[in-house]
């Protein structure tokens, strides 16, 4: 059921660059959380960010949809291009950007609304459905992709906050895919899930890869190896190594990467 190490790296060569980051630095007030990170993220592939806690994975991920704009003390420097467009260009509205770059957060954060409305909110504000039937269809499809449909199909109008932690996280995944983003940023989407739900989400990621670019932060090396084509290792705010997943796990270049994946730092 799960993808194993065997298909790591497949067809990544055929991908084009979706996101291009150059010299990205992030400061929270005076402290620097990201130091000069440059990375190319490919289209139609899964990129994993790994690294010890506090190394800046979430911070960098949040740069990609300008989520750091909402933190008063955060300051982002450097260039990020998606599909060749500078996301910090004056003409780019973060709203437009975030409709294109969806996000699943580290902590599940369903709206305190019904399950149905949680999913329908994004499509509604973007006008993706012309009528109720279309909206119903989007909701069902999204919940199915989030691997939670069977559990909630009879209680669509109960509050999303009444679900278990793992169910909430899958609801958030379903909510993120409901707007059909081109890039999906997932910050530890499986940290609250059991192995079965994790496997379902991984299957979803694999399916999304057919059409989207997925970036996933994970603390599980096995997960990175299972789902991603390329892996980036962050350490203390710097990007230490970024290569094909198979190579980084079997033959790491940097001694810090090796220590991390063999469990000596972290």
């Amino acid at each position: 059921m799960m993808n194993d190490m065997g298909n790591v790296g497949r067809d990544s060569a055929a991908s084009e660059i979706k996101i291009q980051a150059r010299g990205v630095q992030v400061f929270y007030g005076e402290t620097q959380a990201i130091k000069d990170v440059s990375v190319d993220i490919l289209d139609k592939s899964v990129t994993a960010f790994i690294g010890p806690s506090g190394c800046g994975k979430s911070t960098f991920l949040r740069c990609l949809n300008r989520m750091n704009d909402t933190i008063d003390i955060a300051r982002v420097e450097g260039d990020i291009h998606i599909d060749g467009d500078d996301i910090h260009a004056p003409g780019i509205d973060p709203v437009q950007l975030r409709a294109k770059v969806g996000m699943v957060f580290q902590k599940p954060n369903p709206f305190p609304k019904s399950i149905y409305d949680n999913i329908a909110y994004g499509p509604r504000i973007h006008g993706l459905a012309r009528n109720k039937a279309e909206l119903d269809e989007i909701v069902e499809r999204s919940l199915r992709r989030g691997a939670i449909w069977d559990e909630v199909k009879h209680r669509l109008h109960e509050p999303g906050t009444g679900l278990s932690g793992g169910q909430q996280q899958r609801l958030c995944i379903a909510r993120a895919v409901a707007t059909e983003p081109e890039v999906l940023l997932m910050d530890e989407p499986c940290s609250a899930l059991d192995p079965i739900a994790t496997a379902q989400v991984e299957d979803l990621i694999d399916e999304l890869r057919q059409s989207y670019s997925v970036v996933i932060v994970t603390h599980s090396m096995q997960q990175a190896a299972r789902v991603s084509q390329r892996t980036a290792f962050f350490h203390l705010g710097s990007l230490v190594e970024y290569r094909e997943t198979g190579q980084i796990f079997t033959n790491p270049e940097d001694p810090r990467t090796e220590s991390y994946i063999t469990g000596r730092i972290g």
Binding site: Q96, R98, N109, F111, P112, Y121, G122, H126, T179
Partner: protein
């Protein structure tokens, strides 16, 4: 543990963690029980004071919730009340005649006796009779039954507030007047029903007729105007400051000033209203509209502070979730944050309005303590408000106003308790855990 560096033995001499905890446990528990005793003491003191307040109000005010009435058969003598002179006529004379006919030793030809008889009934009795006759002139020449309040001294007598043992010269009622009243009681002409006039009558010079209607309507208008102004403005200001305004020196300055505004003594707002609303804009004095605007100035900072606190309490994860699916800031605020903050906002608003309801000083300054004997029919007409009515009554010399003052305070407290109960209900009803 600090002596670990001094001694050679790295282990502290007192022993294991469990021993240390056990040693300090008694002291920790003592601290906790001290705190508990202090807390319970403070609470008991507060409750005791509240109890004394309410008890003294009830004991002095409960008498005002009933009113002594007299039921009389009055013959409307066409000679005293001729049809062609309506609405004028000797209505007091026919009432006095009816009284003298039922009472022994009340000589209808003695003027002093008749005057004393006339003061048995409330002054309003003759006007009540007049209104009935004007409405239906066929009553002239017939006998009508009317139930009217007795005047204040007899009301006091019936409620046992006048001591019959007091020597006659120190008493408000002479012996023969008391004898009359006893005759009326024996005839079962005297009743003591619930005093609906306390709520349904406007103010009056005569305590037995005075009611809170004008004050209630005045307070209603003032609070409506206050709400209509302070609620939208307060929420708007709070949303702007909290969600949209750039955080800089200027917004800090505004924030400090709003907090200061909430602490400005209310009398200052009254002076401001007097100078600006009445002085410059030429709005009428004593009007609930002006009162409401003045109260709005005071309520607004409360609402702004409550709203900002409620907006702040909405967890950032909800904002991130909405922003993450591509909602604009406007959509995040109005679609998610504001609805979630609404219970808190409403609670703050109700508490602000409850404060405004009890506020007296600014209303005194804009003249809402005038003596007005009819309820206002609109917010621009002169009126009093509940607290200023209490102020007026407390200042009146007649004995009957003493119990009415307490009763009016109880009515005001009743409204305040209701409003606070609603706010507590809202808070519990919509309380959320994220």
């Amino acid at each position: 543990m600090a002596d670990a560096t001094a001694g050679t033995d790295p282990k502290p001499k007192t022993g294991s963690t469990a021993d240390l905890v056990r040693a300090s446990l008694a002291r920790r528990n003592r601290k906790q029980s001290t705190l508990q005793v202090l807390g319970i003491g403070a609470m008991s003191f507060a409750f005791l004071m509240l109890f004394i307040l309410v008890a003294s109000l009830v004991s002095s005010g409960y008498q005002a919730f009933t009113q002594t009435h007299i039921t009389l058969e009055v013959f409307i003598d066409p000679e005293e009340v001729p049809l062609e002179r309506l609405p004028r006529g000797g209505f007091d004379d026919v009432i006095e005649a009816s009284l003298s006919s039922v009472l022994e030793d009340a000589d209808p030809n003695d003027r002093a006796t008749m005057r004393a008889l006339g003061s048995l009934l409330s002054n309003g009795a003759q006007f009540k009779l007049r209104d009935r006759v004007v409405e239906d002139p066929d009553l002239i020449g017939q006998t009508v039954t009317m139930t009217v309040p007795v005047s204040d001294p007899y009301d006091q007598l019936h409620k046992g507030l006048i001591d019959r043992e007091t020597p006659e010269q120190f008493r408000r009622l002479k012996n023969f007047e008391i004898a009359w009243f006893d005759q009326l009681v024996a005839m079962e002409a005297i009743s003591k029903p619930l005093n609906t006039g306390l709520i349904s009558n406007p103010d009056s010079r005569f305590p037995e007729l005075a009611g809170l209607k004008g004050a209630l309507v005045g307070s209603f208008w003032a609070l409506s105007v206050c709400f209509a102004i302070s609620f939208p403005l307060g929420i708007g200001a709070a949303i702007y400051l909290e969600e949209f305004a750039p955080k800089n020196k200027f917004s800090d300055f505004v924030e400090v000033n709003i907090n200061n505004l909430a602490a400005v003594p209310s009398v200052v707002f009254g002076l401001l209203a007097l100078a600006v609303f009445i002085g410059w804009f030429g709005l009428p004095r004593s009007a609930p509209f002006v009162g409401g605007m003045t109260l709005a100035l005071m309520t607004m900072p409360t609402i702004i502070i409550a709203t900002r606190a409620a907006l702040k309490a909405v967890p950032p994860s909800i904002r991130e979730a909405a922003l993450g699916v591509g909602a604009s800031r406007h959509q995040v605020v109005f679609g998610h944050v504001l609805p979630l903050a609404m219970p808190g906002i409403l609670t703050g608003t109700i508490i602000g309005l409850a404060q405004a309801l009890g506020e007296t000083a600014p209303l005194l300054l804009i003249g809402m303590n005038a003596f007005i004997t009819s309820a206002p029919s609109g917010p621009l007409e002169s009126a009093t408000a509940l607290p200023t009515q209490i102020f007026i009554w407390a200042d009146s010399p007649e004995r009957g106003f003493a119990s009415r003052t307490s009763a009016a305070i109880l009515v005001l407290l009743g409204f305040l308790i209701t409003m606070n109960a609603v706010s507590i209900y809202l808070r519990n009803r919509f309380e959320r855990s994220w």
